[in-house]
Symmetry: C2
Subunit: 325 residues, 2 copies
Amino acid sequence: MAYAIDLAAVRAAHERIQHLVHRTAIATNNTVNQSTGLEVFFKPENTQLTGAFKLRGALNAILHLKETNPNCKGVVTHSSGNHGQALSYAAARAKIPCTVVVPENAPSVKVKGIRSHGAKVVLCEATAQARQETCDRLAAQENLTAIPSYNYPDVMSGQGTISLELLDQVPDLDAILVAISGGGLASGVLMAAKSIKPSIKVFIVEPKEKMLEECIRSGERLWPNPPRLMNTIADGMRIQQPGSLTWPIIRDMAEKSTVALEDEEIIAGMKFAFENMKMVVEPSGASTVAAVLSDRFKDLAKEHGLKRVAVIISGGNVDLHNLPW
Amino acid sequence: MAYAIDLAAVRAAHERIQHLVHRTAIATNNTVNQSTGLEVFFKPENTQLTGAFKLRGALNAILHLKETNPNCKGVVTHSSGNHGQALSYAAARAKIPCTVVVPENAPSVKVKGIRSHGAKVVLCEATAQARQETCDRLAAQENLTAIPSYNYPDVMSGQGTISLELLDQVPDLDAILVAISGGGLASGVLMAAKSIKPSIKVFIVEPKEKMLEECIRSGERLWPNPPRLMNTIADGMRIQQPGSLTWPIIRDMAEKSTVALEDEEIIAGMKFAFENMKMVVEPSGASTVAAVLSDRFKDLAKEHGLKRVAVIISGGNVDLHNLPW
């Protein structure tokens, strides 16, 4: 079947954005290697420009838009944080006006980041519906192009450039651990990694409430409608349902076993990253750190005979005045 | 004149410790490069095992001691933090008993670190004199070898291994920025770097109160006696006077201009590292980050025609429950 993106789209994204994004360096940690018995390679997208992987997709979308529609009036999106910051930064680079619809309860550090890159911020009620409606209304009224945060091919292929870098930096990987919210990152990483190296296994890390493993195993979208936001501390992972374009890739290419985490485990992973890796990560970014250290993943590594595992750290935009400990 | 260490001693230290320390990876940051107009290479010793560069000197001292005195009864030191943690870790590796004398006001995160590696902790009054006397008494009573935190050749040459790695990782450096307390790190880094590449310039970063620039310019130890601890937020840089062995190297090899910082600048550097570099650094570790971003260093870089500058980040052991903002 045809998917929304393919390896060629990810390679095209890489050509488009590579001179404007940071090729994040691989980090290793002795304590992690010793306690897991694995060789673990961290891809710290918290050190990416704007503090999260989101810049890759946003830049690819903006630059591609400018190629195909040089006279576009501007872009709009809704985002509780990192996608908004990334789109704001990317639009400023491309000299395109940008508006970001932000739910009232978004972390102030992220709203500040969105404004600092020059975008106009429009606040709305903190529901999925209000976000979408406000965004649609602005797009129609002001003739703006909407760039959604995940269910959008150029965004998905932009995020997939992480796999190109990873497999170049550490060619003989057995597996990748990646977090999921709407699935933009997971689908991009999956498409590129599995196309280049079909034997690689990609394990998804999810909040307990998400039910992703159940859905992957059944091949069905078992989630309750209307789509809802979950109550996890990982504010970048609150979307329960993957998108219509990201889901088929995840369903067909991800490992059937996921690593599902409680909030306490995510907070412990975050503290581990701060204390032992000296890295500032946000809760979503810490979820994969927690996952690689979990008993659940120990079992999976044994079952699948894994030795060399990459761990994508998605972002590091956290309010330093309000850490969860 | 003869100094306490030479390049051969640093190379011997490197041979002794390289399989047990982490070769810290060079980090770069676009914001720093753009705002300084320099190419800046961070050497993040906050990601060193035990969270600070101190492990290098402590391991070299312990391993050398074991070579020359295989039956030694144990080691003792006094330290408010990072040297104590490092010696505790190194002694455990070498299976040698270790006692650390700790002033009552030491940060709890560092005392916890010392204990976690297995050393015995002896608390004392928070004065330079009480620390030294307690340490001397324990050494005499229990027949322990004292390993001071800076004024000790094996410790100095251990710290100097940072320069060997740096000049291997970034051969064409123009300058190095390094922080100072007792001078173990500065003297080791100076001896190795200036011996390998005499044209390189090493600039020392100091708390304002320290008067180091005045002393270097006059070639004299102008500090008031008895030696005192300064009141800076950088708890790893409180010693005002460099040691008798470290001072001659600093006096003769460091640039005459230093970068002297106020506490507020150090805190701002620390926040910059957390927010923009996503790095957990302690105040002392942040001092060089603050320095490279300072107007003072902008002037020095212009005056000396610097282009490629290394910045040593000394450590990252900070109490995450008590950040200075």
